[in-house]
Amino acid sequence: MGHSSVAGGSGAGLPPARPVRWSLARKVSLALVSILLFTQLMAAFFAYYKFESVYSSLVQSRYSFVVFTIKKRVEDNLNLGFALRQLRQVQEIIEREKSRDAQILAVEVYDFRGEVLFDTDRGAIGTKVADSLFEAIRTGSSQSLSFSVIDEDNLIVGLPLVNNLGKVEGGVVLRYPIAYVEKGLSGLMVQLSKSIAMAVAVFSVVAVLGLYILFGGVGRKLGSMEQTLTEVMSVGGQAIPEGGGDAFEERFAEFVAKTRETVDHIRDATEEVGRLDRLQ
């Protein structure tokens, strides 16, 4: 909005301009960058947990397969009529499976009372398994379902051992470290963190720049209108919208003209009253 001066006027009498503490661009930047950050974090959250779920289930299914093969061999022997406690070759089977994979911490076979009969850690033979493992073979027995339990820093997968009469004789479990899964996930976590940091940094700059350009225009327009108002009120003249202006600016120009006219009129009226008052 421009301004053309036509006549000198008295002092403006307008209040001093109020400082801008939080510019529009800053306000909207804060909102948009927050949304950007939120979106990136949510995207990373969903990507990470999807990967975590697929990866850990893949690792678990691999070890479940190992447990399944042990279960098959033990049950083949059970079906020959031997008692679980008597199957000496089970110790050899589980030790062979452990030796094949460095990540396997232990393989245990226990009976239906929860007593460990065979264990790759031979010192644990004769001890009792945790209640959760004991419960797992009781609840999952009928369907021969595999179960998984978290025990401190280890993940445990297991299967019940069922004889050919359908009776649960015990269970076989395999322990592997949570750290193994975490190590597999850490690469993604690091990569995601880097990507998010870079994306947020780059696009925050884009957002702030874009918003300063966009709202800079708004601010300039308002500033120019305010300046015109101040000038017209202080020195007189007319408010003329630049390039014709939009409907709002035209209305504002009329407002400026009307206000100036009113002020002039009241001032004239005041002077006239003063002149009459002085008449004796």
């Binding site: 109020r18 999807k50 990866y55 397969f65 994306a199 009253v273 008052d277």
Partner: protein, 697 residues
Amino acid sequence: MAMTLDRTRPLFIRLLLLVLIVLVPPVAWVTIDAMAEFSQGLIPEMDKKAETIGRDLEASIERAVNFGIPLDKLEGMGEFFSPVLAANPEIRYLAVTDRKGNVLFMQGIDKASIESFYTSADFGEVDHAHKSILGPFIDMAQPLVTKAGRVGQVHVGTDQDYVRERLMEIAIDLAVVTLVALLIAVEILLFVVTFNITGPMRVVGTVIDKVRRGDFGFMAGVTSDDEVGRFVHGFNGAIRYADTLFRRLEAYLDEVKSAHFDPGVVEQVRDIESRVKFLFRFARTGQPETVNEHQATDIRLPLFLFVFAEEISRSFMPLYIRDLYAPIPGLSPEMVIGLPIALFMLVIALASPSAAMLANRVGARRVFLIGLVPATIGFVMSALAMSVYDLILWRMATALGYAFITMACQGYIAQVSHQQKRAQGLGVYVGAVLTASVCGTGFGGVLAERVGYRTTFWVAAILTIVTAVLIYRLLDSAQPNAETAAPRKREFLRLLRNWRFSVLVAFAAIPSKIALTGFLFFLVPLTLSQNPNIDLGDMARIMMAYPISVVLMSPLVARFADHVGWKAGLVAVGGLIGGAALVLPFFWEPVVVIPVSIWLLGISQGLSASPQLAMIPDLCWTECRIMGQTNVLAFLRLAERVGSFAGPLLAACFIPAYGYNGAIIALGVVVAGLASVFALLSFAYHAGPHIETEWGE
């Protein structure tokens, strides 16, 4: 498009473009990085699994061959392979080849498709696993070594698509996140623009128009500390300056009039006073009054957040209820699962009229804040629910809050929108609800899949608290006054004596709600959960189709209905499509057809919802004049909740007899039957306003 300060659209479109640039590429960036890392991490683990399986098979086969059975004479290999393939879906085939690569045994795929590769490949004398890519498969070959030396290979083939499918799942999840983020960004930025710029500038515009007519009795009530606030400060300063000059003149005039000895002077002074007062108007209170213009958009963001919070549990609510199931004497398990959903709808229906009256009496802001109390308690306690008994109670509390809040919003919009802008105001309401529905349903399902049902309710409670803060901080405590008094209940009942209105309610509005709550809210989650391949995220994405199709259809249909004026016909067609959509599982597998049914249901609602409202002024011409159109529309919305209540219970009645699939079809038959009755009766509606005096009878 030129940017005009007092209009939201031009500024918002520019902002929207910027939002797209700022939000979409970084999510794409993270997605691509995640997917690369994902496949890098997943493939070695799949190889290890294939090796483990291969090694086990190899050990068993070597044992048999070491007993003297020739490799090609082994029996029962099919039975040996089958359980392994069944337990490991990513393993597509298992095979045994001889030294030359001839396939001796194969299970999972046709051997002709890869035998040529085996015979031409050189497995050599390598004594460890050998990996190759065979078209869509990753083949892991392990040597079979017996006492007699190497006799062949065991092959384990994994599906390359397995990784690709998992990557696609991530991409879809992130697409949902991006869509939700974009919609949330739109809501927030729309609010930021209207609250900070266009709203205040509209107030300035109102004051400008008064000043242009010489009225200096008003100032813009804007106190922000941004560029707009600074401008308004100067703007108000000019008005205040004129006012101050006038006050001085007025005081001077009074002094001269009362003290001057010359009657001629006094007369002239009176003339000056009359002239100034004729030309300009100033506030009688001693200073200009502050103008604060309320707009329908004031309430949009809080409403969006609240509905978002409620919709978050949409995709899994029946599954959560099923997890908390406890028997209720006399009710089937399905009925117990349907009960919390039905009672939720019933409480909304019963509480809405009182909430609307309260909003008229004490103001929308207060009713909104009152409603947030039971809603928050409901969400928190739903997260902590022990069984279906207390869940029913907490869902009813949430419903009470929902009724208060939605009525407060509708009341606020009705109060701030002038008659000619009421449709626009209701558009703000419908827009916020539908957008929140898209976001809440999609986001809730994906979130619940990761963090569980209970945590998702906590998220809903937090969103409700954010809503409360927004309402408290942003909505003016001085509320606009109600335009009209709420009609009495007896007047509502008389409305039902208008047969056209009653037919519309009973055979169009109620059936569409039966389909919505019975099918979408109740049967869809239960039916889809039967399929182990569909997880919660998938379910939510499938259910998102409903609000999306309504959003896409409604504006088109509204324009079409205005253009052709065939409103009753559109309502009838919409109803019939809704019924037909539910009958589709009779012809195809539910898993395949349910997404189609949901899209069709959305189209059906999109087709019939707007024309239903648009018909009211014609159907209830007399009633609208007496009660007010808004009240008649509110009664229509209230009456249709009978269908919302009946839907889940009706569906629950059908399940024991017909199963989940049959219940959908049965519900479809009911909806289609009622819609057919409406289609037949709609021919008797005729066009134009019906001004019979049913009212006075």
